[in-house]
């Protein structure tokens, strides 16, 4: 009997090619898109869960209270490792001190690799985490302080395929023996390093540097929150209670000094990737949004299938009648139709999988994410498998129920009419599809407008044709000499030495500021940056009051603040000349710079203070040079700076960052999200239109006699097209009315995370609505016109 079901399913597919193509293409595109999204969602959710003990592993965060605001820091002090020995719930504790942008070379300095991320780890690292050690003894990877474990990629880069154990590498002018090789860190690992050194090395350097005040070892240093620290708790241990025990130990040692108040928190390893230490769940929410997108895509593709199969059920009625007359019962027919869906679904699934593999590079470039499609990742494929099974059940059961319930006699007589309930459900589903499409169109319009708004916004400085180069730290001492050399190059318009790494992310803040008129207890968290007298003109910032730094020693006690700082400090005119104490260093405000954006545009502009003499007084160097050039001479300028750079730096390869590119990169995730929205919106609309095309074609077919009669009686093509189109357009308009407020609310919530945002205007909603109507109209008109211009005699004869 099963063979008979498959046979008839296959023949039905072949005989009704048009509907089969609509069914299969709609399902295949929907499935392919959903598989891509689900693969990404699952890979995001699988981060760090490949460690077998991940449920018991936690990472420490430190929570401070500054001016009534909770600030969370991802690092904790070293002595927590000492406390752990007497806290019974703790199985193991591992500290990691990582550094990015490091350089390692082979012993002869023939090969120098820069931009590396290295870490110093406690010995328990390799037993706490399940990273794959491919060479070396897992339990004895650090026989001495000059040991290093490197990744397979690093090993290949330095030594090719040869046996690398025992080979020597040079790091910070010291030799290290390779004692182990790790498989490259999995993509879904939050921890990613190129080389791993023993903690003893960091400990040695710490001691050699004189420690931190009275604290001479890392196990004593209470002030340095520099260790990312992981802890494995015994099963059933309460993480909060354990964290409290660590807090108590620490505060006891600190004699409960309010100035040192901190609270340690433990976050599970599995949450680390999607939830930031301060509890920001925006990445997690993004995963949820995309999960919803996948569900919607599957729903819309399912709706097509359900709608068209129930609409077309009338043509299957005779078959159902005959089968029932010759002895089929409802159950047998139900399974027959289920199998038909399975056949169709399987074909669509095969096409979808082919599409996924073909579209993978395109998807990766549009989304900026790496799509995990290897069959080895069982968690991804089992999730996809469950989702597809759910979809298969959803699309197969309802049409099978409708079809198998037909009564034999009316079926044979062709007197089956779709029940009111079925028709209403079909209409509701069309409305749902188009409502989702309209929401996605609005989303696309709003995201692209917002991105354009950001790009075109006046940031308060000119970000074009300025690039920065980070010179070695020692260069700060000779900043003026380097500047003078560079200024000789005609293509350089201006050059400035600063301590600013990233113009659009000035995140060094302090509350160590006193000013006259300060109210008792009034604290201000103010951004701080060290610049020279060239910076403001180089960046084309505007001074609204006072003067720029002079470049003379008197700058030591001069400060420039921004407009927001003036406002929040509550300074009265005249601002220039007012005395302030900054990090205990008394000085004068010499100027007020016009507000400019130095943080994410999601945040409003906050108070800022420019200081000119950081380098000499605080040891924070002005080693980052900002160079203004012109469009035509950028390459020449870069070459000139490199020449200067190479005179000073030997190990670290030269690199430069254009300020506008750095700025763009900050919004890359948003731009990519926008691209993904466009991609999925286009797919959703396309799938919805396929469904609409199928329904219109079918309607035109079943109304062929009516169309013929109307035409004979004098109806024009226009009248007939209107007749066929109006019902569908009504549904689309209804969808627009339902979707518009939802779209407005969703996009308004999304925009609320931007301090500088556009409004979701009625024009955007109107444009989205009109687009949906035009798209729907184009879809349905084709079949409607075709039916309307057909010869009426033919249609009447067909009937």
């Amino acid at each position: 009997m099963i063979m008979n079901y498959f046979k008839i399913a296959w023949r039905n597919l072949k005989q009704n090619k048009f509907y089969s193509i609509i069914h299969i293409s709609g399902l295949a595109i929907g499935l392919a898109a959903a598989i891509m999204v689900l693969a990404w969602v699952q890979s995001e959710k699988s981060f760090d869960t490949f460690h077998k003990d991940y449920k018991d592993i936690y990472v420490f965060n430190a929570q401070f209270n500054i001016n009534g605001e909770n600030r969370v820091w991802g690092g904790v002090p070293g002595p927590l490792a000492v406390y752990s020995k007497s806290i019974s719930e703790v199985g193991k504790l591992v500290r990691i001190n990582s550094e990015s942008n490091q350089t390692i070379s082979d012993i002869d300095r023939d090969k120098i690799l820069g931009g590396l991320t290295v870490a110093a780890v406690d010995n328990g690292f390799f037993s706490l985490f399940d990273f794959n050690v491919i060479e070396g003894q897992r339990n004895h990877l650090f026989p001495d302080v000059n040991s290093v474990v490197i990744t397979k990629s690093m090993a290949n880069k330095f030594f090719g395929d040869h046996n690398v154990l025992g080979k020597t590498l040079k790091y910070r002018n010291e030799n290290f023996t390779v004692t182990g090789v790790l498989e490259d860190f999995p993509e879904n690992s939050s921890l990613q390093y190129d080389a791993i050194f023993p903690m003893a090395l960091y400990s040695k350097e710490f001691k050699a540097g004189g420690g931190n005040g009275d604290w001479k070892t890392i196990d004593e240093d209470l002030g340095n929150y520099s260790f990312q620290t992981f802890v494995k708790l015994h099963a059933n241990a309460d993480a909060n209670k354990v964290a409290n025990k660590f807090t108590k130990r620490y505060m006891d040692v600190r004699n409960n000094d309010p100035a040192s108040k901190v609270e340690f928190k433990l976050q599970n390893l599995a949450d680390m990737h999607l939830i930031t230490p301060d509890g920001n769940k925006s990445a997690y929410r993004m995963v949820q949004v995309f999960l919803l997108v996948a569900i919607l895509l599957l729903a819309i593709a399912s709706i097509n299938y359900i709608n068209l199969s129930t609409a077309r059920s009338l043509t299957r009625a005779k078959e159902v009648g005959v089968r029932k007359v010759v002895g089929a019962n409802k159950k047998q027919l139900f399974f027959q139709f289920i199998i038909e869906t399975i056949v169709l679904f399987s074909i669509a699934l095969i096409i979808a999988l082919v599409l996924v593999f073909l579209l993978k590079p395109f998807y990766n470039s549009v989304s900026g994410r790496h799509l995990e499609t290897s069959f080895g990742n069982t968690s991804i494929w089992s999730t996809i498998g469950f989702a597809l099974l759910g979809m298969l059940m959803a699309v197969s059961i309802y049409p099978a129920m409708v079809l198998s319930a037909f009564k034999p006699l009316p079926s044979l007589k062709g007197k089956i009419a779709s029940g009111v309930g079925i028709v209403a459900l079909r209409k509701a589903l069309v409305v749902f599809q188009f409502a989702v499409s309209v929401i996605l169109i609005v989303g696309t319009l709003v995201i692209s407008s917002q991105m354009k708004h950001i790009r075109k916004m006046d940031l308060g400085y000119d970000k074009d044709y300025v690039f920065s180069v980070s010179f070695p730290i020692e260069a700060a001492k000779n900043a003026n000499a380097i500047k003078s050399e560079l200024e000789k190059e005609p293509s350089i318009q201006m050059v400035s030495a600063t301590g600013i790494g990233d113009m659009s992310q000035l995140d060094s803040e302090t509350s160590d500021l006193e000013w006259s008129g300060q109210i008792q207890g009034q604290n201000l968290l103010i951004a701080q940056a060290s610049i020279d007298n060239n910076f403001i003109p180089t960046m084309k910032m505007q001074l609204v009051e006072g003067a720029n730094f002079s470049g003379l020693p008197s700058d030591k006690t001069s400060y420039i603040v921004n407009e927001t700082a003036v406002k929040e400090m509550g300074l009265n005119e005249p601002i220039v000349g007012q005395k302030i104490k900054f990090h205990n260093n008394e000085g004068t405000i010499i100027g007020v710079v016009k507000d400019f954006n130095f943080k994410s545009l999601r945040d409003p502009i906050s108070p800022l203070l420019f200081n000119s003499n950081w380098g000499t007084q605080w040891g924070w160097g002005q080693n980052i040079f900002y160079v203004r050039t012109t469009a035509g001479e950028a390459q020449k300028t870069i070459a000139a700076v490199k020449k200067q750079y190479d005179k000073i730096a030997t190990d670290i390869p030269f690199s430069y960052q254009f300020v506008d590119k750095q700025f763009e990169a900050k919004y890359e995730a948003d731009t990519k999200t926008g691209n993904l929205f466009n991609f999925f919106a286009a797919l959703t609309i396309f799938i919805s239109c396929l469904g609409l095309l199928g329904l219109t074609t079918y309607t035109a077919r079943v109304r062929i006699k009516e169309i013929g009669v109307r035409k004979v009686l004098g109806a024009s093509v226009n009248n007939l097209v209107k007749l066929l189109v109006k019902d569908f357009i009504f549904l689309v308009i209804l969808a627009i009315l339902i979707a518009s407020p939802i779209a407005w609310w969703l996009m308004d919530s999304w925009l609320s995370s931007y301090a500088y945002r556009i409004q979701v205007s009625w024009q955007i909603l109107l444009l989205a609505g009109c687009s949906a109507v035009v798209i729907a109209l184009l879809t349905v008109s084709f079949q409607a016109i075709k039916a309307a211009i057909a010869n009426p005699i033919k249609s009447l004869r067909t009937e």
Binding site: M1, I8, R11, E319, V326, G327, N329
Partner: protein
């Protein structure tokens, strides 16, 4: 001979929102095992309704219908379907073959639903196709056959399960006289072999193949002609 069908005071109404039409009005008659009965009457007299009720495709609104000694009026769909598939074969005016299945598969269908094993199915389908002289068309689809051939397939499908009763609803209505005669010949042969046949027809010629003609008007029996 025993009565296969006993119908007493059978009633059937068709209702719309405003009008109620009487299709069968207190109809009473019997059909014995092995009989060949023709039912005649003008359009709308209720003969097809009667055939549908006898074929357990429809439910009466009143009266009694005893099939092989069992009261079946009021049976639910499942029970009716079960009784139908083991006892009754249908031949329709419009053949009602499934276009997507071949001749062989159409004839095989009732055996599939009654759970006959594949080897037995093959044997029986081939037997009946030979008997109906359409074996050479076994792999053709219905639309590739003439009307006469299609109706032979339909008869083959009706008899493949060896039903006790064959219900034929104007079996020659869509056929020319030559093919029509062939079909009537087939039905007569089946009846000679012991199958009870009830046939609805407009054709006096066809009705003469039967043993008894029941003439209906407005939902009830008006005359009964015994031919044999």
């Amino acid at each position: 001979m025993n009565s296969m069908i006993k119908i007493k005071d059978l009633e059937k109404y068709y209702r719309t929102e405003e009008v109620q039409t009487v299709a069968l009005n207190k109809l009473t008659f019997d059909v014995k095992e092995g009989e060949f009965v023709a039912i005649m009457g003008p359009s709308g007299c209720g003969k097809s309704t009667l055939l549908n009720i006898i074929g357990l495709l429809d439910d009466p609104d009143g009266g009694s219908f005893i099939f092989n000694g069992i009261e079946v009026a009021g049976f639910n769909e499942r029970k009716r379907a079960d009784l139908r598939k083991h006892n009754i074969g249908f031949v329709f005016q419009s053949f009602n073959l499934i276009d997507e299945l071949t001749v062989y598969e159409n004839v095989e269908l009732p055996l599939i639903y009654t759970g006959v094993k594949p080897a037995d199915r093959k044997k029986r389908v081939e037997e009946v196709l030979e008997k109906m002289q359409i074996m050479h068309r076994r792999n053709h689809f219905p639309q590739q056959l003439s009307g006469g051939q299609q109706q032979r397939v339909a008869v083959a499908r009706a008899v493949v399960n060896n039903p006790k009763l064959i219900l034929a609803d104007e079996p020659t209505g869509n056929l020319d006289s030559s093919n029509g005669n062939d079909v009537m010949q087939l039905l007569t042969e089946l009846n000679d072999q012991g199958t009870t046949v009830i046939m609805v027809t407009h054709s006096e010629h066809d009705a003469k193949y039967s043993h008894r003609i029941i003439r209906m008007l407005d939902g009830h029996k008006v005359t009964e002609d015994i031919l044999v």
